[in-house]
Amino acid sequence: MAAIVILIVGWIVGIPLSIRLGLAFLVIVAGAMVTNGSYVLKRLATLVPTLLLVTLFTFFLQTKRVTPEVVAIRVLGTGANADAVDKFIVENNLDAPFLQQYLDWLSGAVVGDLGTSFVNNISVSEQIGEAIPISLQLMVYAQLLALVISVPAGVYAAYRASRRGDAVVSTAALGFLSIPNFILATFLVYILALWLDLLPATSYVYLHESVIDHFKHMLLPSVSLAMALSATYMRLLRGDMVSTLQESFITTAKAKGVSPAKVLWGHALRPSSFTLLTVFAVNSGVLIGGALIIEIIFIIPGMGNKIVAAIVGFDFLVLQGAVVVLAVGFVLLNFLIDLLYTALDPRIRNVRA
């Protein structure tokens, strides 16, 4: 909880995001260390090799993809003369052996220097620092929306399992699950933006510029992402909840005179939410960099847009930086899920303690 406070207070006070995230993480880890040190250390130990291999893998994919000349020509333009190409290759050390290039990059990365883009000469950290908050916003909106839709729908469907209400909700979920987000986005834009002219079709407005415009611009992208997510969550929750409702402690609750609503929300929801929680958390990581198409369609300058631009433009230091940040986020998220589990399920808490 303290971590969330740091995130929010930091945001208001205006501390850079990377510092805020770092602080928040330190608080969480410190909290976990107090209760269960060895477990936390063990998990942190796996982080390092994972990151090394992930970066090595992406570095390999990027640098071995094309010859340095192709990169140089792509960056400098097709009209570039041979001297300029050679100069570019030497300046950016593109002709060095693969491993040496990687180690050069790594030695910078461990001290926080992710390099400078040789395409636009802007520091990679700076570019990512600008893009991440935007992607985070999109992720948070989409996830909140998905939860707001899926939790009541899932609870209701489980309550009416194998009856008409369940059939309607489950069929709708299957339908939304089957609409790719870019198709949904395209038609939402067509209907709500182009046809009815209710919402803007593209671009991004910062929260501090105009709160209303910000949400107007983020609504369609968030909905496009949220529908398939909410279908997934609803199905997971329904499945787990149907089996929870077969448990005898539900009968106990009923025999106490607890109302159906309280049985569902008070007794059944929490023990049914573990799978949902896992998938939710994993998605949080994936969505930060994985909402590529949505960011492209709506022209939102987030991580997805950066990544696509970097891949298409051979700007591989930017890609490398983005992948590192995402991979760190992914591993840390998995770690946080475990901590959250212990909060939700007291049984785990005591096994570890």
């Binding site: 005898s248 009968t251 106990t252 106490k256 007794h267 023990p271 007291p346 049984r347």
Partner: protein, 363 residues
């Protein structure tokens, strides 16, 4: 409650009349409880005994109205404190559940919510039915835990079920059931899932609480030994029907039904020499989808005669008051003894089993 002035006999708490429960399934209609009648006075205990699948669990749930509504058909009458409750909706039942009638379930591992603190599970019904505020409810919970003899109740109240042993959990379950001071308690195999050493403690606790609170109790079990010293009256169920019912002492003195007898023989007894063979009841419980035309126990009965397979025996009264049974050839009657002898001569397997085990102990 609207029934401030209970009608009829004020001693009577529960009157069950011709109760039947049918499940409609794809395979056909399953008659899990078939025309069961009994009465229970305030503060008294009825032991319902039968093996798995005899319908005893469904019986207690039918009375308490805890079965699903869809594809379940219940007929007959259940009067609780003079009020008909069989056809009450869940909404109306909610005023009775927990407050008037409560239930202790078989397996305390699964019948307590694993992710909810014990205190909350106990106080939940207090808060619903009596509108007690949080702080008072917590005090009540601690008192309840103390009364079911849980050590350090102030500490336990904030713990989760998995932190307690099986026996402790069942005590918590009892505390949950007792919270609102119900007048009627159903205990559905309350000790089956527990360690043998804990069973007696739990049963004694139930008996003690029942006495202190003047509750009526239906104690459901498969073990005749469990109800022997604790029930005022015993009802034996087989294949969804009552086959024998009597005050406890009477039943043990002169049991009439061969099934009761078979259950009795399957209890290990201390006075017997060790290595005495216990009599298992051969065969399986009857198919409830296509019940046999005659007596449900016929296929496993040592006294079975042609008539038993043709006609269903009705519950008839014995000479002793309050004793009734459903058998054409009851134990301890000339007809019954003759039937057994005939079957031994004819080599009916169930009868031979009885002969072999009877020989050394010489009942």
């Amino acid at each position: 409650m609207s029934n401030a002035e209970p009608k009829g006999n004020s001693e009577r708490l529960l009157e069950v009349e011709g109760l039947s429960t049918k499940f409609l399934t794809a395979r056909g209609t399953v008659t899990a409880v078939d025309n069961v009648s009994f009465t229970l006075d305030r503060g008294k205990t009825l032991g319902v005994v039968g093996e798995s699948g005899s319908g005893k669990t469904v019986l207690s749930r039918s009375i308490m109205n805890l079965l699903p509504r869809k594809n379940v058909e219940r007929t007959g009458s259940v009067r609780f404190d003079g009020r008909e409750v069989l056809n009450l909706s869940d909404k109306d039942m909610r005023h009775i559940w927990g407050k008037e009638m409560a239930m202790v379930f078989q397996d305390p591992m699964t019948s307590l919510n694993p992710v909810m603190r014990i205190g909350k599970q106990i106080t939940e019904s207090l808060r619903i039915h009596l509108g007690v505020d949080k702080k008072t409810a917590r005090q009540e919970a601690i008192e309840l835990l103390r009364s079911v003899k849980i050590p350090e109740p102030e500490k336990r109240v904030d713990e989760y079920p998995h932190q307690l042993s099986g026996g402790m959990r069942q005590r918590v379950m009892i505390a949950v059931a007792l919270a609102c001071g119900p007048r009627m308690l159903f205990a559905d195999e309350p000790t089956t899932a527990l360690d043998v050493t804990v069973q007696a403690q739990i049963l004694n606790l139930l008996a003690e609480q029942q006495r202190d609170r003047f509750m009526a109790m239906v104690l459901v079990t498969h073990d005749l030994g469990v109800v022997a010293g604790r029930a005022d009256e015993i009802a034996v169920m087989y294949g969804g029907r009552l086959v024998e019912k009597a005050p406890t002492a009477t039943l043990f003195r002169s049991m009439k039904h061969p099934y009761t007898e078979a259950l009795f023989r399957s209890i290990p007894r201390i006075e017997n020499p060790s290595h005495t063979r216990l009599l298992a009841i051969g065969g399986r419980p009857p198919d409830l989808v296509n019940p046999p035309k005659g007596c449900a126990f016929a296929d496993r009965c040592p006294r079975v005669q042609t008539m038993c397979r043709e006609e269903r025996p009705k519950l008839v009264n014995a000479i002793t008051a309050g004793h009734s049974y459903a058998c054409f050839y009851p134990t301890g009657t000339p007809e019954g003894d003759k039937a057994l002898e005939d079957n031994i001569v004819a080599g009916v397997p169930a009868a031979l089993e009885v002969q072999i085990t009877d020989a050394p102990s010489g009942i």
